[in-house]
């Protein structure tokens, strides 16, 4: 009866293999289809270690199955007493030495890759971005460029970009699985990592260190565009006029309401570094509202009316006067037309 | 349970041994005081380069502590093998902890 225990495991493995082959998860989110340097390095190691591990597992399972098939107590031999073996030097040496060799096989590339990814020597020749983790949103400050954005991180494809990361409150962790592994965002020490995305696209980023009730909603996007598009985006962002009047009347009313309710106390439009709340300069081009909602007006109104319902524990709730649905609607109208650049996530391919 | 046969009173041999032990402990004490004074003096007078000074006072402290353990607490005596093992275990974990916290906290 127990023979099929081993087979059962085998089935499991087969099944899961099928699963890997058929679905690696959502494109631009999964770590199994790397689109960047760090993720590629990681996947190489994942594959290498998996292969080594499967090799060991197969050996263990072979012995295991053999044992269970051959050495079950036999009928009619209930009183049989096996030989009491103490040990076997040769065997024991073998199963000490072989694992050591296998470990060396995985340790060497591990160490090499670790130093490779930690290399910061070229940082000053590249784009440097200051990343700030906040309870439950991300802020990006393009160093030396006077550009501030939140939630959507624009970077050029095929370029190393250095991220200097620090938290303003608790520990967060910056993770864009398909581009690179994660790096913690600590409150006292600045961490530096580089990312390099190979292809244009909008990639999902997630916070990977428990940071409070809305930890699971602290998503962000990395928008990878071509170098030319990126340059244009930079140009556009630099020339933003934070005071610019919107065209249509509703939005103008919205802008007035935005001022009246002192939204600017926390948020900024333009390159001012005020960072209690996300920077809204290019809010209209954001791929999501609050990192998670589809960028529709209804959703924005919902957010403005009651952010708590969407992101529990967020720092916006209760910090501004109540607004009526009508007012929220106008503010939303204003915010959604904040599109200083033609370069939007839609330009990032797909 | 160990009932004692020969100890209606402490015999003189044992007494002598205790005395010798006590003398050793006195010498240890004198050395400890000496080390303490040296450590304080070199810091107070500031005669030594900081690079040397810190290792020197640390070494002095370690020697003192070894004296405490081995002489005052008898770790050198028979029947202290397991205590010594555990103390060294503790010191091992302690060193790892301190090195970890010193080197890997700020960067």
């Amino acid at each position: 009866m127990k023979g099929w225990m081993g087979k059962f495991k085998g089935l499991f493995l087969l099944g899961s293999l099928a699963l890997v082959l058929s679905a690696c998860g959502q494109e631009n989110l999964t770590a199994l289809e790397p689109k960047g340097y760090g993720a590629e390095k990681a996947l190489d190691l994942i594959i290498l270690t998996t292969v080594v591990m499967l090799f060991v597992l197969v050996i263990v399972m072979l012995i295991y199955t053999a044992v269970l098939l051959r050495y079950r107590k036999k009928k009619g031999q209930e009183n049989y007493i096996p030989k009491q073996v103490e040990g076997n030097k040769a065997l024991e040496t073998i199963w000490t030495v072989i694992p050591i060799i296998l470990l060396i096989i995985i340790a060497v590339p591990t160490v090499t890759a670790t130093f490779d990814l930690a290399d910061e020597t070229g940082a000053s020749d590249h784009l440097n971005i200051q990343v700030t983790g906040n309870q439950y949103w991300w802020h990006f400050n393009y160093e030396g460029q006077e550009i501030q954005t939140s939630q959507d991180l624009y970077i050029p494809a095929g370029e190393k970009v250095y991220l200097n990361m620090k938290s303003s409150d608790v520990i967060h962790s910056f993770w864009v699985p398909s581009i690179s592994g994660k790096m913690d965002v600590n409150p006292e020490n600045e961490n530096t990592m580089f990312i390099e995305a190979y292809e244009e696209g909008v990639y999902w980023g997630k916070c990977a260190e428990l940071c409070g009730p809305s930890h699971s909603l602290m998503d962000f996007k990395v928008v990878v565009v071509s170098q030319e598009e990126f340059d244009q985006w930079v140009e556009d962002m630099k020339n933003v006029d934070p005071k610019a009047q919107p065209q249509d009347a509703v939005a103008q009313e919205g802008q007035a309401l935005f001022q009246e309710n002192n939204c600017m106390g926390c948020h900024a439009i333009g390159s001012s570094p005020a960072a209690v709340g996300p920077n809204l300069t290019n809010f209209g081009s954001r791929s999501k509202i609050a990192g998670i909602l589809e960028p529709t007006k209804e959703n924005l109104v919902r957010w403005i009316m009651d952010p708590e319902e969407i992101k529990p524990g967020n720092k916006m709730t209760g910090n501004y006067p109540d607004v009526s649905e009508e007012e929220a609607d106008k503010i939303a109208e204003y915010l959604l037309q904040l599109e200083p650049s033609e370069i939007t996530p839609e330009d990032a391919g797909k | 349970m160990a009932d004692n046969t020969n100890s209606k009173e402490i015999n003189s041999f044992q007494k002598r041994k205790n005395k010798i032990e006590m003398q050793k402990q006195l010498i240890t004490f004198a050395l400890m005081i000496l080390f303490t004074i040296i450590a304080f003096v070199i810091v107070a007078t500031g005669t030594m380069e900081k690079m040397f000074l810190i290792p020197v006072i640390l070494v002095l402290a370690v020697i003192q502590v070894a004296f405490q353990f081995y002489y005052f607490m008898h770790m050198k005596d028979k029947g202290h093998e397991t205590p010594a093992l555990m103390i060294y275990g503790g010191i091992w974990a302690a060193i790892l902890t301190i090195v970890g916290l010193m080197l890997l906290v700020w960067w």
Partner: protein, 207 residues
Amino acid sequence: MSHDHSLNPETMPHEPEKATLEGKNKFLGFWFFLGGETVLFACLFGTYLALRNSTAGGPSTNDLFGLELVFIMTILLLTSSLTSVYAMYHMKNNNFKKMQLWLGITALLGFSFLGCEIYEFTHYIHEYDFTFRSSALGSAFYTLVGFHGGHVTFGLLWLIALMVRNAKRGLNLYNAPKFYVFSLYWHFIDVVWVFIFTVVYLMGKVG
């Protein structure tokens, strides 16, 4: 076999603290406890070393510490370690009176040490406004040194309880391990202090 032999002061073996199984257990268990305490203090030292420069604009260790008082405290505690050695010496010679006397001296030295420490702390608080809450350095300093002080305090309470409890009945196989284990504890406190004066005060003075 009489069962109260362990209470008979006449039968005093060479190592009274380890003459019974209970005694042996206590002896060993306490040593192990000290092994654990080593790690406990290591964490405090590690934390202190990590935070020794985190003054948050307040006074630094160099501003605060004066060596004279620390020296006196060190001598007090070192001497009390020796006096407790004397006490154990007399215990092994089954001289209860002298043991009590030396333990008494140990206690006195311990109290003087504690007095100095309290003075030192109040001094820092009043003169420098350097408190447990004023900076990470303050927290780490008071916690490390305070944990040691707490150990001294507990040791003194323990010692007094032992001395008072056994004053009338003298030494026996039941209480000898208790005295012995106390002396181990007291030496260990001294060990910790050696590192405190070296790592906190002397190194703090050097910067």
